[in-house]
């Protein structure tokens, strides 16, 4: 019997205590950050969208190799002698034309592993996080600065160089191996 | 058309149509829900006849209690929706005799009754007279019925107990 009344009392008093707490919170100012108008400052080393500074990229492919999810695709073409590719900001000489540098940011897992091996510190994570897209293809970022024609030309140049080299080799080797039919298959 | 006529025909149609469906439908759940409408229509007619207490009690007990109990029974019983309900006549001759007799009695009553044709006036509530009668004249019967219900309640509880 005593238990019964204690139960009633406990039930009522705990409900009232709870109601007091919620009523107090009714007048506590909200902690909500009203996002599009107010944005929280991000922490310093926040990891968000990747960005590649192509001016500094030497096409070393290290970031692509270290990427755990293989979301970076790099394709390079060797430069021909006489072309000046310029220098990176920390003094390295560029030797490769980067004809393809794509990061499929949809696959990226924001681990920052690609940032550390970069010798020129040209790939880094920015604080941009608002880049949702209506099409998935738009999340495949292409960082190449060269135009399509330029890429084609670079490829042609290199092919020509190779062909010349091959021709020279063939010319040097012609006395030894008289087999001109093999030349096209070399390329 | 008078407002009361309108309401009366509405409830009468509701009662008759839904009662017809209760009898003819093969789906037991449909029958139960049509019974709800029948009860509701009958309650409406009770109100128009000036028996407002009866109407409310009809709603509380039949709709709120018995019908819900029936629905519970139907829904919680295994496979009751698959049971084939026989709707074709099986005992034609005895049934038609019985129905004929019953219909005859009903028609006789219908014809013999002197129907009042006075226009419907707003009925006075029967609540206070019923309360007075129950508490004064029929107090003993009332209490007796209460005790009977209590016994039934206790009996049900003791049957339902596991030990």
């Amino acid at each position: 019997m005593q238990e019964y009344f204690r139960n009633i009392w406990q039930g009522l008093s705990t409900v009232l205590t709870g109601m007091k707490i919620t009523f107090k919170h009714l007048f506590v100012p909200a902690v909500t950050i009203q996002y599009p108008d107010v944005k929280v400052p991000l922490p310093e080393r926040v990891r968000n969208r990747l960005y590649v500074n192509m001016d500094d990229c030497i096409g070393c492919d290290q970031c692509a190799r270290v990427c755990p999810v293989n979301c970076i695709t790099i394709e390079t073409v060797k430069s021909v002698p006489g072309e000046d590719l310029g220098k990176t900001s920390n003094g390295k000489k560029k030797a490769l034309w980067v004809t393809q540098f794509e990061i499929d940011i949809a696959k990226c897992c924001y681990c920052q592993l690609c940032v550390f091996p970069c010798p020129t510190e040209c790939i880094y994570m920015t604080d941009v996080y608002e880049f949702s897209e209506l099409e998935r293809e738009n999340l495949n970022f292409n960082f190449v600065t060269l135009s399509k024609e330029e890429i084609l030309q670079k490829k042609e140049n290199y092919a020509k160089l190779e062909a010349e080299k091959a021709a020279q080799k063939a010319a040097a080797a012609k006395p030894a191996v008289a087999n001109p039919e093999q030349k096209p298959t070399d390329n | 058309m008078n407002l009361y006529d309108f309401i009366f025909y509405f409830f009468a149609a509701l009662t008759i149509v839904s009662a017809f469906f209760v009898v003819t439908t093969k789906n037991i759940i449909y029958a139960a829900f049509n019974l709800l409408l029948t009860f509701f229509g009958v309650a409406g007619i009770y109100v128009l006849l000036g028996a407002d207490f009866l109407a409310i009690v009809q709603l509380i007990i039949y709709v709120g209690g018995i019908l819900i109990l029936m629905l519970f029974g139907v829904m919680l019983t295994n496979k009751i929706t698959n049971v084939q309900i026989k709707t074709e006549a099986s005992f034609v001759i005895p049934a038609s005799i019985g129905v004929g007799l019953f219909a005859g009695v009903l028609i006789a009553i219908l014809l013999k009754t002197e129907w009042r044709n006075s226009p419907a006036d707003i009925p006075i509530s029967t609540l206070v007279p019923i309360g007075k009668l129950l508490m004064e004249e029929w107090a003993f019967v009332f209490i007796l019925l209460g005790v009977l219900l209590l016994i039934a309640l206790i009996g049900a509880a003791s049957i339902a107990r596991k030990e």
Partner: protein, 164 residues
Amino acid sequence: MGLLDREFTEDNIVISKVDDFLNWGRLSSLWQVGFGLACCAIEMMATSASHYDFDRFGVIPRPTPRQCDVIIISGTVTFKMATRVKRLYEQMPDPKYVISMGSCANCGGPYWEHGYHVLKGVDRVIPVDVYVPGCPPRPEALLEGLMKLQEKIRNESLVKKAIV
């Protein structure tokens, strides 16, 4: 729903005003399926919670897909789950929208190459409206994705689009 089912072949001022009104209703009360898949779901819950407050945009989680407008695919969709996701999507009444949240839902994420068990992008089973990148996306990123979806709804029309 006769008006809405019919597609108008011509644009006119009445229809475009009605359009704006109906679109406004749809975009400001996107009810979400209370449905989370993986780690992104934690972030989605954070978006619903006090600091980011999805309710500001009129988004409230509804328990049943029948009463929802938007499904947020929050996290890795395994093959086993993909059938469920598809069923949930099919149970939602039109007009319905899909937000794909996080790398895994967008294209399989870390599992896109060698994940024997992961659906490579939820858009292989259901049509996605907005892709929110991130692993997982910040709550703000999800809110931004929602606002992009609202923009998309705002530009919807009853007028039949001319075939370009």
